[in-house]
Subunit: 570 residues, 2 copies
Amino acid sequence: MLEKYIAVAKGDKKADLVLKNATYVDVFCGKIRKGDIAVVGEKIVGVGKYEGKEEIDCSKLTVLPGYIDGHVHIESSQLSPEEFASLIVPRGTTTIIADPHEITNVCGTAGCEYISKASQNVPLDVKLQLPSCVPATPFETSGAILNGKDTAKNIIKDYIFGLGEFMNYPGVINCDPDVIKKLESAHTAGKVIDGHAPAVYGNDLNAYLCGGITTDHECVTGDEIEEKISKGMYVHIRHGSSTQNLGNAKHMTDANFRRFILCTDDRHAFDLKDKGHLDDALRKLVASGIDPVRAVTCATLNCAECYNLKWRGAIAPFYLADLVVVEDLRAFNAKYVFKNGKLVAKDGKPLFDTSKRYLPKSVLNTVHLKDVKPDDFKLTLKGTKAKAMTIEPGGVVTGCEIVEVESKNGDVVLENTDLLKLTVVERHKLTGNIGKALFKGYGFKGGAMGITIAHDSHNIILLGDDNESMAKAANRLKEIGGGMVVVDKAKGEVHSLTLDIAGLMSSRDADGLQRDSKALIELAHSMGVKREYEAFMSLAFLSLAVIPKLKILDTGLFDVEKFAFTDINA
Amino acid sequence: MLEKYIAVAKGDKKADLVLKNATYVDVFCGKIRKGDIAVVGEKIVGVGKYEGKEEIDCSKLTVLPGYIDGHVHIESSQLSPEEFASLIVPRGTTTIIADPHEITNVCGTAGCEYISKASQNVPLDVKLQLPSCVPATPFETSGAILNGKDTAKNIIKDYIFGLGEFMNYPGVINCDPDVIKKLESAHTAGKVIDGHAPAVYGNDLNAYLCGGITTDHECVTGDEIEEKISKGMYVHIRHGSSTQNLGNAKHMTDANFRRFILCTDDRHAFDLKDKGHLDDALRKLVASGIDPVRAVTCATLNCAECYNLKWRGAIAPFYLADLVVVEDLRAFNAKYVFKNGKLVAKDGKPLFDTSKRYLPKSVLNTVHLKDVKPDDFKLTLKGTKAKAMTIEPGGVVTGCEIVEVESKNGDVVLENTDLLKLTVVERHKLTGNIGKALFKGYGFKGGAMGITIAHDSHNIILLGDDNESMAKAANRLKEIGGGMVVVDKAKGEVHSLTLDIAGLMSSRDADGLQRDSKALIELAHSMGVKREYEAFMSLAFLSLAVIPKLKILDTGLFDVEKFAFTDINA
């Protein structure tokens, strides 16, 4: 094969494809250059003067290396990998480092295998990290457990690129033996380990890094960034749907900018569709005053270097012909996208078939639940004072408020209060667990609503003011194999949307999902959910027991600051 | 093992070693910082506030990562790997990318194995490249041949780090099948390929790079550097004994400086002893106005990135504790050098035993020669006009001059001329080949002199004006198993110095070699070798048939520009 590349590069044979008279970004010298870009098979073979069997006039266009997303959970899009690719590839992303943390918490390594195999249907390189924290905490019931031994067994597999974000930083710092086993197995296998260490500094950070961890996407302050880079970490500039730190880019200097990379982490289908992916990050970075060539370097070469992706992330001979052709370096509108030398998207539309979806049984029908009855939702208090969870709009941190609440027949009375029952119904292991809490200020009335996305164990998170409606909601979610549901008691109606893949993602297309989601979200708001909340997605983090303050698990009410269960009775 | 690093990093246990109150270079942020550097075993575990079982006060000292030499032929030092290490480690070099091109041309892969095993005796990481061009040209007789098949067989070996500098750039550009086999085998093995492509530009450079070649240590102009970096190459800043391009450093910019690395290529024992190694390069770079932190980054992190040497080249948690402690960032005088966390040199002196030398039979007694007789050196011309080789002082490029010369008894008459016989006596395969040329202007008279270092096949290069002396010289070199020789006809004396390792290197210490070399060099000058030449080393390149213009091989006179043999008769 080398002969063919060399012969064309030398000029003895025509290239398969030439992007003629292109302006292109040279990420090595930080410059914008002009030339013909010659492609043979999946490789760029030269930049200079070339002729091709196919030629595309790029005299008014700018060519960039394909973007690399340094850290993303595909599941957060609520789309299948195929449909996810159909949204991000036309935006210019050609490689992602994907951590299937959510689906693995539901399906175990079958979730990893599914993402890997489904991704092979689309022109997107998915480098798959083995999730490191399944479950996220030992206090809840998840669909799967990956301990140190499981990690050692799986990390060596060819389709596993590295070990996913190590969120359990206390476990690293305190030398939890199972954590050490996970880290050591990744080292032995020579695989990269991603980090996640918000506000970890000083000697604690040194200890965390002695786990051999190399990246962080959680830092937000200049001091944190400076310390983490100086200690060898690559720092992500994140452009998720809710969690963003594009402002990190202003801490880039001439000396340290090679250690900054771009990622999206969690980005919803709606944002991917309406706003974009890394192209949107680049647009916003440039609008904020970051040099466009430097921004592109963060999205390409830097990320390739961080993850040791050789021959990727630049426009140069022998580099992979992953190319984005944009109109300019302000809007970053992708006119053409090439993956492995093939045109795969044009004018924002995918040119590849996304109708062929891989859907193994192992990720379907993942709501395992005995029939739930109205009485299962009775919440019995000892007295009239109880702890209630609260949540700020737009945030994931919860509060705790002591409230007065009456009871009748062994159940709380919610009429004429601003309170709801908030429950987590275990859906993996048929334990029958239902964790119960009071939830104040969300605004919903007259039935129940719920979703099978509930970080990170993804049980059913379900709220309501009527036990019968709550039982109906849970049973509907079981019936459809996961998704979102709203029960309107007055009308006697149950509305739902199916997330058939692990209860997290839809096997449908993004348009259909968006249309139906919007209708269900609108219904929830019409039943009182305050407009300042994201009706369903705000619920999805109420069970995430690693973020303060008060959280609800299938096993009960949890005080994150004390890292222990807590009594609802105040 | 991770537990131990983590516990110390966190501050729960004392470190093995702490460099207290150190000023240190942070190559990631390009800054100078202060702190305690804690070491456990072979790793740095943290920078901050630490206590150690052993503590060294560094309050008046600056700590740097150990230097990495990106490309070096140990053989050019004329020292064994052990003695070589004893000179460079105390200067601060802790890792080298070594290409045993010379010894492999003499001994085949036994030469590689020897360098690898001998290096295990010393605290220096030697990353060994498999030489790519053995022999350098197909026109001469070398001690070994490594063809594509041999390369494929050897490149996969664990002790082989990559493929050495691919000097045969015409072979790459013209798709020589054996060259392609070498390149492809290195790719398949996932190993790095070093480059060597002086003044290769444009589409030819693209073609060369499509061989998957990633470095170049031959460029000298700003345009060449810019083009090579923009096409993905790492560019070396070279500080050899005769070939230097420290000036390359002035072409570093904020955007491209990460692609510059330091190397020495060929550096003689005398220079290593008297001037230094990469420390001398750093000293000169800083004196020329290069920012010291940037210069250090080129000698450390950049090189580690280029060669994918993970956890090396920086002072940060989990990085290898290869550390140089200097008095300041101008003189770069190394007070302490640590390798894998152990103190291995102090105040410029090695603290390791260099008397234990690995000396396998496979690299000894490499002068294979039938007894040579005076008549073997007869040079018979057809007429009186002949081509003579000339050489400029300090250069390796030769010239061709047409001279008038008388003959008698079938041999040229050199009395009263400025001419010498210059011969290459084959010493590997008992072919009996003696290539003969005329050499003008060197100045030697009254005997013969020769050396078994003759690039790149390392036959015997031998000059003289007396056949009997020349035969004596050749036979002495055979007797001592290689080295340098001077025969004084008038005094009837034969003086020699032994290079017992492949006829290229001495198993003695540097001091002894330097003393005896100087005596022999002085003798050659006293017999007329003009002072502007390096008496022996200027000869060593007269057989290098890849550098213009006229060269002498064991097989005859060679016109490099025509890349063909040429008749001595003009």
